[in-house]
Amino acid sequence: MSLLLRRRFFWEEIDLMSLLDILLLVAALLASGLFVLGRGSFAGWLATVVYGLMLAVLAIAGLALDSGVAFIPSAMSFEILGRNLGWRLDGLGWFFALLTVGAAFFASWYGSGEWGRKQKRMGLQHALLALNVLAMLLLLSSGDLLSLFIGWELVSWAAFAIMTQGGGPAVAAAYRYMIYALAGAMAVFAAIMLVQNVTGGLGFADLQTAISAMSTAQVWVLFILFAAGFGVKMALMPFHLWQAPAYSETPGASSAFLNAVSARMGLFALILVLVKLTGLEALGSLAIPFTFMSAKSALMWVAAITMVVPTFIALMQTDARMLLTWHGIGQGGYMLLGVLVGTSLGTAGGLMHVFNYATYQAALFLAVTAVIHRAGTSDLDELGGLITRMPWTYVTLLMGIIGLAGLPPMNGFVSKWMIYKSLLDGGQPLLLIMAFAATLGTILSVYKLIHNIFLGQLRREHQHLKEAPVSMVLPMLILAGIGFVTGFMPGLALNITDIAQRAIGGDMLPHHLGGVTLATGSLNMLWVVGVLIGAIGAGALIFYLLGNRRYEVHQFDNYAGGHFLSADIRYHFSHEFYPGLARVIGPWYRGSIVRAEQGIGILVNVAGDLWQAVFRVAYTPLYMLLVVVLGLVFTGSWGIVP
């Protein structure tokens, strides 16, 4: 297929062949350069500029993909052990690449400011961030199953490297992550080899032929291996324990990057393998006997549970970063649910939720890092009343939590609305109810987050806090701004997700700048947000015109049942914020999965001790004879052919 376009576009003379190569080359040079440059403070700014450049290259690639090009091939391809490895960037990969480089851009911008100067080894963190971006680009542009697996491993290990930067507890959390990631990777490796066993090849097309050629049992094994392998990285329900501590212990800027994008690599791989290659009909046809469920609905229920349970665990957290990372796991459930519904609305909703999540989660993490930078702790019981001292950080966190909770003015609402609508039209009421329960849980826990940090009584030692420096506030505000703009005009984000949706296949979603117009109920955010802002303006008018001028009092001029309030009494209500709810759902937190994980650990220890004891006994010749006798019996009975 000739890659030169019939119509004349300005990028026509840039040979499309080299766009992906430029991207990968620049990422590799940046990673190696930063390792060499190391400590230099300009390393951060250099990285930020380079990420900006990569964003531009991706934009051009996006324009090309938008105008009908199927994928952007790369010159880089190897022929090893009779298998050829190729790299090419299609719409789906491009979409996730855009998010990756965008998140890296903001993280490195944030890291090269004053926050970076106070870190121990900021140069190394910049370098590892660049390494992560390179690994993710390799994964996203993989052309066949083997390069997919190689990219997958590189991403896992790059994430492991960046997680260990936090020191002490971070290393323990990273170690736990590594075991999960390794188990997941081995599952994927086994699945790939299974495909190769059936079709003899490792290309994406071979997977499709393998699915049709395999027996249902083999297809089930393949489905479980792929779902489990990629599910580990996405922190689907049974494998989710590692993500919260690992992502919250990582130092600020890189944890914003990890939270925004790194967990989504699992979603990319799941979409690529299960949705694009195997196809949802094939998954749907994999019926579980004796139940009305199929593989697809089983995965949807896993996604639904992953949506609800982590959100209510987040509700009970007392550390701001842990709360946000637990929400990260919950939001992953939304995206997978949206994509698995199968209708164009659902897929568009799921993909847009990936985009939205990246914007507001990164903004939230950068805001919490700014609070840590100034107040020294992220423990919700030690903070309070910072709104007067850090107003811009408050604004970012407010826009972020409105996005995370999915309320109208922000973009989070649009994608959640599309997911709900697709669930409703797709005839899945129970999943819709679970989705909504998760949203309610999110609203409760995000309010606890913003209340305990910014509202309420300002503590004595936070009196003289200053606002976070500009180099930290600016990226946060821009991210929050992106969230608001795509919320006000969701059409912008939907154009981007169109490219990814076209790559996945299936019908496209007709949408306009304001949102979606369907027969069974439409959403036009231009009107919704416009009227909301107009109405708030009306509220402002009522507030300022009617009634006397407002007189601002300080925080101790407060009603406390006739008690005289002063700074040495801590009356800020923040510890155990929802006591009533805790009494009802408290007993439900039995931590059964945590105990299961410890069980496996103990099992391995006992087995290890057993094997060592076997060897420590003195009579090894006895074993030799024993085996000889057993062997004779084994061979004597003609040795059943295994």
Partner: protein, 485 residues
């Protein structure tokens, strides 16, 4: 094809040198060491020449003294054999004791080990293999005891008893084979085996041979000597034994399997022992507390993986086995050198990365490769294994699953140790600051690993051609019976 007289040089030169060394050593103290190194160098050159010839003109063989099968002793050299002879030569050169070794003991033992090992791989006659195996065994008992510590003597004595019993069993196996087939020449047996060694006697003979040679190949039930010997023997001997000599024994078992006992029950037996070996090795290594015993158990596991690879019938299995063996031969000695420097409980080594970052980085590189992380050669070896395992019967799928699970457990304990190096606070003595000079072999092997990373494609092609050559039995038989004059 041609019969090459030089085929016996890799065996003859070291043995003669081993004989002359004590004499040379007695007349001049330092001369012993130089003479030894020179002998190894000459052997290496001879082997390289032979290997180049074999690679060029195909497998060579020669019957000793002109006696034809079934009586004569035959030597047979193909690419597989020559590869491992070269590996042995390089290994001995690299792990030649450097210190001011005045006693000539270890040098002679090393040379006998070199000669015996080469003979083991080259000879085409069953009893001849047994004799060379005994030479290698005796040399390894001596080397294991050369550490001079009480534990060394105790361990090598227990090892001797175990191995001697194993050899007797092997001899009994050979007697059974001779009783059934009337000949001991491998090629002859290859032609007679299908009808003669089909039934239970054949299986029993293979079992006895497998257990006999399994002692050195660290197969499951008979590898209890591994932790004791590797803990007490000097590090260069440990690397030699773990890295190279155990592979030679496995190659011999492969020869039996391919030529003499191509029966499903034989493959099944080796597979079972392989799986048990992997399980035992990985789980025991998870519980080991100091680095040295961790790597001892992990070498049991890795050899279990190679045994699984060889138990897959057909050239694919052999190629995977060879790749894994070569990779393990490069990685394991380096690990042992690091373990030798960082003795004692892993917890006491916390903060090691700060005192010696280079060694810690090497440790992480080796761990990544042995787990099988893509760009490194370890991944491609494991890929070959899984490729072969998944394309054969479902029992091998279970084996592949065990290997993968083993890799996870391996990752767990290796990175637990890495966690101590990097994460732990600088408490206690931590890792002693030492010049990397003492770890030259380890860094050399690390460099070899990195270089191999870029040369995967040619290496892969070479290994697969070697496997194909080793697998087609009729060509070997024809070469040995007709070609040898």
């Amino acid at each position: 094809m041609n019969t090459v007289p030089q085929i016996i040089f890799p065996v003859a030169i070291p043995l003669i040198a081993a004989f002359l060394l004590p004499i040379a050593g007695r007349c001049h103290a330092g001369f012993g060491r130089i003479f030894g190194r020179a002998a190894v160098l000459v052997t290496f050159l001879a082997s390289a020449l032979l290997a180049w010839q074999v690679a060029g003109a195909g497998p060579a063989s020669s019957a000793m003294g002109g006696f034809k099968a079934p009586l004569g002793i035959v030597f047979y050299a193909d690419n597989l054999a020559m590869a491992f002879v070269l590996l042995l030569n390089i290994g001995v050169w690299l792990f030649w004791p450097s210190g001011d070794e005045d006693r000539s003991g270890p040098y002679t033992l090393l040379l006998t080990l070199l000669g015996g090992g080469a003979g083991l791989v080259l000879s085409g006659d069953l009893f001849n293999i047994f004799v060379f195996y005994e030479i290698v065994a005796v040399a390894s008992y001596g080397l294991a005891a050369s550490g001079g510590s009480a534990a060394g003597f105790g361990a090598s004595l227990r090892y001797l008893l175990l191995s001697a019993l194993g050899s007797s069993l092997a001899l009994m196996g050979i007697a059974l084979v001779y009783a059934a087939a009337g000949t001991l020449n491998l090629a002859d047996l290859a032609l007679l085996a299908p009808d003669v060694l089909r039934g239970p006697p054949g299986a029993a003979a293979f079992l006895l041979l497998l257990i006999g040679f399994g002692v050195k190949a660290e197969l499951f039930p008979v590898n209890s000597w591994v932790p004791e010997i590797y803990a007490s023997a000097p590090v260069r001997v440990t690397s030699l034994l773990a890295g190279i000599v155990s592979k030679l024994a496995l190659i011999v078992i492969l020869r039996f399997l391919v030529l003499v006992f191509p029966m499903p029950s034989a493959y099944g037996l080796l597979l079972t022992l392989g799986i048990l070996g992997v399980l035992a090795g990985e789980l025991a290594a998870y519980r080991a507390r100091d680095l040295n015993s961790t790597f001892a158990w992990s070498s049991i596991a890795q050899l279990g993986v190679i045994a699984i690879a060889f138990s897959i019938p057909g050239p694919a299995g052999i190629a995977a086995g060879i790749a894994l063996a070569l990779h393990h031969a490069v990685v394991k000695p380096a690990f042992f050198f690091i373990a030798d420097k960082w003795r004692g409980d892993v917890k006491l080594l916390s903060g090691g990365a700060r005192t010696s970052p280079l060694v810690a980085a090497l440790f992480v590189l080796l761990s990544l490769s042995i787990i099988g992380i893509p760009p490194l050669p370890g991944f491609w070896a494991k890929y070959l294994l899984l490729d072969a395992a998944f394309s054969s019967s479902p029992a091998y799928w279970l084996a592949a699953a065990v290997v993968l699970a083993g890799a996870v457990v391996e990752g767990a304990y290796l990175f637990r140790a890495a966690g101590f190096f990097y994460g732990g606070p600088q408490k206690g003595r931590g890792a002693a600051l030492f010049m990397p000079g003492e770890l030259v072999p380890a860094f050399v092997l690390g460099a070899v690993l990195l270089v191999a990373m870029f040369a995967i494609a040619p290496l892969g092609a070479y290994i697969t051609s070697m496997a194909v050559q080793a697998a087609d039995v009729p060509a070997i038989a024809a070469q040995i019976l007709l070609g040898g004059n």
